[in-house]
């Protein structure tokens, strides 16, 4: 099936999350993605949970299964001369190369920008690194918690009398992957127009900083340091908050004075809805406790989905703070087929989030399951590069494949 990105060939040397999410985005919209994995152990993401039936195994990671749809897998030992020769031949045929090794590793593997340019002057190389390719933290280690801390996400989050708390999920990795995918397409467009290849560098720390804006920019403007404000989004916006209800929590996201008024009317407090203090953003900050106190008795008699629907039909942004289970079972996402099922030899029918957007009025296209380790080695080496079956066997014996 021809799709938007079918003309783009991607050589994917990346592993774990950020790089593979970048190439997954390209692959799910049609790019031909060839994933190069280490022989025997493969991409480290194969060791990441959740596993099918909670049993680890190279072909049992649900996360790997999600991150690598629509890709082909070739195993190659990049430290071996013949492995390098094969990868340079693959680079010569590719439009985009994506890698997220530690800085300096590509050079050590003989895949420096110079060597890659020699192999293919039209190549776009996307590098995703923890802290980018330069600077004093270049070689520092990064976990999700470290990324959030140095990316400015953790400091303003949590209770003032407790340590700051990191956000849930691992979105630093996904945000970096998205920036990589955007960079890849921008650079391919540029290449198509000018013939000039390009390197595209993403720092996970910078990717996270670029997704914040209430702290350092605000400080640059007004010298304001935002302190932690508990379950409120921001001390200045107490109307953005999670509050308890009968069966869990709801998120109030009443960003505008009109929302507050409608909310107070809904919560059977027309007296406060008419009170001018609750009608301006600045005065509201001073009477936050009163606002929450006025809403709580009403909320405590109602379930979160009831509150969500009652508020939303009145145009008030409210969420039921769903658990992961409730997200998967939310009828709205079901009707939109936001999750798709993929048949996997070890996992059976595996339900994963589908592609992030689609053409209006068109059905979802089928996604191919993530490849088994080295599943396409022979097909690629013989079919694309013209090696014989004997060559392939020899490379297997030498530990190249």
């Amino acid at each position: 099936m021809q799709q938007a990105l079918s003309s783009i060939h991607v050589l994917d040397l990346s592993h774990y999350i950020a790089g593979p999410y970048c190439t997954k985005l390209l692959a799910d919209y049609g790019a031909v993605v060839l994933k190069v994995e280490r022989p025997v152990s493969g991409d480290g993401a194969r060791t990441l949970p959740p596993f099918f039936g909670d049993r680890p195994g190279l072909e049992r990671s649900g996360l790997f299964c999600f991150l690598n749809t629509n890709k082909q897998s070739v195993t190659l030992n990049l430290k071996h001369d013949r492995g390098r020769e094969v990868v340079l031949r693959l680079a010569a045929q590719a439009d985009v190369l994506v890698e997220n090794f530690r800085p300096g590793v590509m050079e050590r593997l003989g895949l420096s920008p110079g060597n890659l340019e020699k192999a293919n002057p039209r190549l776009v190389t996307v590098s995703i690194a923890n802290f980018g390719a330069s600077g004093p933290y270049r070689d520092h280690k990064l976990t999700d918690s470290v990324a959030y801390a140095l990316g400015g996400w953790t400091y303003p989050m949590g209770e003032l009398d407790r340590p700051p708390v990191q956000p849930g999920g691992a979105f630093g990795q996904y945000v970096a992957g998205l920036y990589g995918a955007i960079g890849a397409l921008q650079a391919v467009r540029h290449r198509n127009a000018t013939g000039e290849g390009q390197t595209v560098d993403v720092s996970i720390q910078e990717a996270l900083i670029a997704t914040t804006l209430y702290d350092f920019v605000a400080f640059s403007y007004a010298g304001f340091v935002r302190k932690r404000s508990g379950r409120q989004f921001h001390l200045a916006y107490p109307n953005l908050v999670t509050l308890p209800c009968a069966d869990g929590y709801v998120g109030l996201h009443a960003g505008l004075p009109t929302h507050i008024r409608a909310l107070l009317e809904l919560a059977e407090r027309p007296d406060l809805a008419a009170d001018p203090r609750f009608n301006t953003v600045t005065e509201l900050a001073a009477c936050a406790r009163e606002l929450h106190g006025a809403l709580l008795p009403w909320l405590q008699k109602r379930g979160k989905w009831e509150v969500y629907h009652a508020a939303q039909v009145r145009g008030i942004p409210v969420s039921p703070i769903p658990s992961p289970q409730e997200v998967v079972e939310w009828p709205h996402l079901k009707e939109r087929q936001a999750f798709v099922e993929i048949e996997h030899p070890e996992g059976g029918r595996v339900k994963i989030p589908g592609p992030p957007f689609r053409e209006n009025g068109k059905p979802l296209w089928p996604l191919r399951r993530a490849p088994l380790l080295g599943e396409h080695s022979e097909e690629i080496l013989c079919g694309r590069l013209g090696y014989t079956k004997t060559d392939v066997q020899q490379m297997r014996d030498e530990g190249v494949l």
């Binding site: 990191q166 849930g168 467009r189 560098d201 910078e206 989004f233 953005l240 992961p324 595996v350």
Partner: protein, 412 residues
Amino acid sequence: MTKPLRVVDLTNGWAGPLSTCLLGDFGAEVIKVESPSHMDWWRGAELPGPPDGPKLYEQAPTFNTVNRNKYGIALELTHPRGRALFRELIRISDVLIANYPLRSLRKLGIDYQALSAVNPQLVMVTLPAFGNNGPDSEYVGFGCTTEAMAGITGVSGYEDGQPQMLSNAIGDPGTALNTCFAALVGLFEQERRGKGVSIDLSHVEGLLPMNAEALLDYTINGRVQGQRGNRHPTMAPHGCYPCKGDDEWVVIAVASDTQWEKFCQVLGNPAWAGNQKFATAAGRKTVEDELDRSIAAWTKEHEHYEVMELLQQAGIAAGAVLSGPEILSDAHLAAREFLLAIDKAEAGTHLYPGFVPRFHPSAGQVRLPAPCFGEHHDYVFGTLLGLPAEEIEILTKERIISTVPIFPTLTR
């Protein structure tokens, strides 16, 4: 690029404007459309002060961050002449990004069907919070709403506590990245099929991958994850520890037993660490509170950057928890020249996030600061659409375009 892309930005707030800002950073000509009676609400939710006072709506750090590299116009789309001009603009543009549902645009006569008649090559991305169809598609949301609906808020907060709203919504910038990517995919699709495309982008669905681990744990194993706080399912120690300064913190993540040995060496092999129950990750997980108290006693003696460097030199992941001012002075970001100083009329010179990603050799550029309200009518209506100056004056008089926000109702 040979011929720059022209993008019409009919969005406000954070998600939409940041998506077009990304396109503008790398060379696209972006035209931001506000309305005389409805300025982008990110210029400030409060009403502007008296007409001769300071223009507060030009001084919002939020608005000014995500609208650089754009031309700005204020065009009344509820007026037939305003809509006609909008269609003329679409005729000469490549991409339209609108954070309204298609049904709202249809009422104005600027939905995809109407606009593709004017420009069959148009790539259009609409980004209503919940998508263009489905039972809850009429519902509304900010970033806090959409990230909650993707289940991210539900897994955020202290391990012993309640769901915690994120303090910087990922819902908005996450959607901005998805939208920018969608517009680029749309351009490739337009080239492939030789005609335009209309894309439906639901904020919520684009955010699901960012919560993949928790969602997959449910779909695969039926396990419902909750808040983890600063803890990790297998790593210990893994937490946020107090340092010497006021409200100063460091995060530490010890990933293996070998790293634990190195960690103890950095601390000078204190007696408490020699206890056998700390020797394995599984053992450390069972006494995490005790472990955290002992580590906190050590971190409290040092500054956060000092702890980070001591541990990083030993190969252990650690990071200072940076506040806003610390990001402005961080040595690594400074060495990489990440932040950009941009001067904007009425706001002065301030620091903003730099370019992500970095391209070599064709680097991003700041060609324009965020536009003042209705700043570029001469360029857009005069130079691009060829209207004579007198006509622009008439449009202004008739309030079809405006260089000051007009507030028809001064009540809320």
